[in-house]
């Protein structure tokens, strides 16, 4: 996708002017928040599971090299081919080469954010392969020509009414009714033949299991299973941080993932894949290719962004983020939106092209609170601001403002004079109305809010005069 995070504020303006966007966002985020709260409340071992999950990920990250080698060895032993891609470009090249070698004409795809991250659509287009998105929401945005706006619910920005309209226009045999069941049936009629005729299937993986060389997908639609079974070749693109040492460790995350993501105890389908079709198997792909992608994850491993690699891509942080809830995922202008995206985007695509993202956050802490692996997102966003400050990135106005304020705040006597003067000035502007409706240089506040009229004299002035 085309990254637009450098024009975040324009994206925000556009998103806020979009009449149906907020309706679509509210419907889904409200539902997800309510359901998550309910299912987490009912999960007695939640705190323990969360702490255990964090421990497992931290241990795996501390020993990532070991587990990656172990995974590779076991995956090869299972009959898979394993590739290492340091960059998205390298990953795309592997995909294109496999497609060309197979003479593939069409590929069915199971939604994966890693696929978006490396630009899988581009790779398939380069190889002249038709891309068929099989996840319902991905199917919707493929028809609409939109990038995903959420990591779990990529079509969150669309209302049901808009989807009905889209299907009516684009499907060969659309349903006449607009209820959810009819819309799903319409998509099923459209997609079913394509599942069966694809040459290649492409998926991501929610977990890699080091000691067996297996990988796990988690879906609600069963499209991962149907996508990856008929075609002769299955390509898996996956980030190296998805590793867990063993099956029992994956089980801890399975208990957390769908509770955090959509507020259910488990997803409808959880599939463990191990190797290609064996002799005597009735179905399954003959060729299994696993592409392990780095894309700056190794860099993150060695600095303060390391805890971000614990992320299991549940989306709870964005579902509970006031900024995401106001403008949706597209405003972030990058593959990963919301709080986790505001950390990942600078890490993966550079701090310069996404300088608003770590700043456009109130540091309210709800994202960290709901994170199933306790990632300190607000702390990392703030540290990214510190990194920006070190690089001299804040605007001249911001730097100047901070410098003047700091010069006063570090000199208490001078600060008293300044606050006393501003007290007089603000009271003058209030003219006894109790509020101030415009303040020079503070349009950001007074454009939409009144400012209270201060009392006569600051606290320190009144205290000095003896008021108690």
């Amino acid at each position: 996708m085309k990254q637009t995070s450098h024009q975040f504020t324009q994206n925000v303006t556009r998103a806020l002017a979009e009449p149906t966007l907020k309706i679509a966002l509210d419907r889904t985020t409200t539902l997800l928040r309510t359901r998550r709260a309910k299912v987490i409340d009912a999960f007695e071992e939640y705190a323990e599971a969360r702490a255990t999950a964090q421990k497992i990920k931290d241990h795996t990250l501390d020993n990532l090299g070991h587990y990656l080698r172990q995974f590779e060895e076991n995956a090869i032993a299972s009959g898979a081919q394993v590739y290492w891609a340091e960059t998205p470009q390298q990953a795309r090249t592997v995909v294109t080469e496999i497609c060309r070698a197979e003479g593939a004409k069409s590929a069915t795809r199971v939604k994966s954010m890693l696929g978006e991250e490396i630009g899988i659509g581009e790779a398939l287009a380069d190889a002249g392969v038709e891309r068929v998105e099989t996840d319902l929401a991905e199917h919707i945005i493929q028809l609409a020509g939109d990038p995903p706006s959420h990591i779990v619910m990529p079509a969150m920005h669309k209302t049901q009414e808009q989807v009905a309209e889209l299907f009516a226009k684009k499907h060969k045999d659309p349903s006449t009714e607009q209820d959810v069941t009819s819309l799903v049936s319409s998509a099923r009629r459209e997609l079913r033949p394509k599942f069966m005729n694809a040459d290649i299937s492409i998926s991501g993986a929610n977990f890699l299991i080091a000691d067996t060389g297996s990988f796990v997908t988690v879906t609600n639609e069963g499209n991962a299973e149907l996508t990856t079974t008929p075609p002769k070749t299955h390509i898996v693109t996956v980030g190296i941080e998805k590793m867990v040492p063993s099956l029992k460790h994956a089980a801890v995350f399975l208990r957390l993932l769908s509770r955090a993501a959509i507020g259910t105890e488990i997803t409808q389908y959880t599939t463990f894949f191990n190797g290609p079709k064996r002799e005597g198997d009735r179905d399954g792909p003959e060729n299994l290719h696993i592409i392990l992608v780095d894309n700056h994850r190794s860099d993150m491993l060695s600095d303060f962004l390391r805890p971000m690699l614990r992320c299991i891509r549940c989306g709870a942080c964005m579902n509970h983020c006031p900024v995401y809830s106001a403008v949706g995922g597209h405003a972030y202008g990058a593959v990963y939106p919301g709080p986790m995206g505001s950390v990942l985007t600078p890490a993966m695509t550079g701090i310069e092209g996404s300088k608003d993202l770590p700043n456009a956050c109130t540091l309210n802490g709800r994202c960290k609170e709901v994170c199933p692996v306790n990632i300190p997102l607000p702390d990392m966003l703030r540290s990214l601001r510190a990194r920006q400050f070190e690089k001299g990135m804040p605007s001249g106005m911001t730097k100047w403002g901070l410098r003047v304020w700091a010069a006063l705040a570090t000199r208490p006597a001078l600060y008293r004079l300044a606050t006393a003067a501003s007290n007089v000035a603000l009271r003058g502007m209030a003219r006894g109305r109790g509020k101030i409706t415009t303040v020079p240089l503070a349009a950001g506040w007074t454009g939409s809010r009144d400012l209270p009229q201060p009392e006569p004299g600051t606290f320190m002035q009144q205290y000095k005069k003896g008021r108690r």
Partner: protein, 258 residues
């Protein structure tokens, strides 16, 4: 954490820059309650700001300088009490990050952080205080984020307010959701901040309460400012003003009584 009754704790009161500049009444209400709860209160005159605006802008050097100023001004007291969850949390939860490379300061910083309290939780959890006040109205409560999530301030204001005669409380939907203030966020991203506070004021009005209470002047100013702009006559006070019986003047953004 409860203290022995025979010892009158010496409290250094950190008024916070916003209360100092915008609503001293919150500061004087705090002094009254702290004295009433049995504290010896002093207001060090070398205080300005806790450093949070610099910290949240990524300016660690200035934040550190201000943190050192706060530590020096307040380390002689038994407790530092702050009428804001946000500023208290800055001192309590975030100062440590600033001194990771300054071992000389770490002990002093740690000692100060450990004895710094947000005022509502200090009154209940440390002083075991029961207020005596009267306020006529129906109030709803907004839990400010730093106090709630960093310091666990949730039950304390409700427990204190339950002793206020004439006051009834109604729950606020999304009471734990950010109001969109976010310090410098509200002026750096005014459109976002406005959208978020607009959702908040809609929920506040839906409660049918006539009063909005909270524990952080920044958030209260944001919500009161928006409510006022929307033409609402909601009365907005810091909880401490109600508890001290000092919510008799105009609320935040309300005109003075003629």
């Amino acid at each position: 954490m409860k203290i022995a009754r025979d010892h009158k704790p010496r409290v250094g009161f950190f008024v916070t820059c916003i209360v100092d500049a915008m609503r001293p009444n919150i500061g004087f209400a705090s002094l009254k309650l702290l004295a009433d709860a049995g504290c010896d209160v002093e207001v060090p005159n070398t205080q300005t700001c806790c450093g949070q605006p610099a910290f949240n802008s990524g300016d660690d050097a200035t934040s550190r300088q201000l943190a050192q100023q706060v530590i020096t001004a307040f380390e002689g007291y038994d407790y530092v009490v702050v009428p804001s969850g946000s500023c208290a949390s800055m001192i309590r939860s975030h100062y440590a990050e600033l001194f990771a490379e300054l071992p000389d300061w770490q002990e002093r910083q740690h000692a100060l952080s450990a004895k710094t309290w947000e005022i509502l939780s200090f009154l209940t959890d440390v002083m075991d205080y029961t207020p005596k006040a009267e306020y006529h109205g129906t109030a709803t409560y907004h839990d400010s984020c730093s106090g709630l999530r960093d310091l666990g301030v949730h039950d304390q204001p409700r427990a204190l307010l339950s002793h206020v005669d004439g006051l009834s409380m109604v729950p606020l939907e999304g009471n734990n959701e950010c109001c969109g203030f976010g310090g410098t966020f509200c002026v750096k991203y005014p459109e976002l901040s406005t959208a978020i506070v607009g959702e908040k004021t809609a929920k506040i009005k839906k409660t049918q309460a006539d009063t909005l209470l909270g524990g952080d002047m920044g958030c209260l100013m944001n919500m009161a400012g928006k409510l006022s702009r929307e033409g609402s006559d909601m009365r907005v006070y810091h909880t401490i003003e109600v508890l001290a019986g000092m919510a008799d003047g105009p609320g935040i953004c309300a005109p003075a009584l003629k």
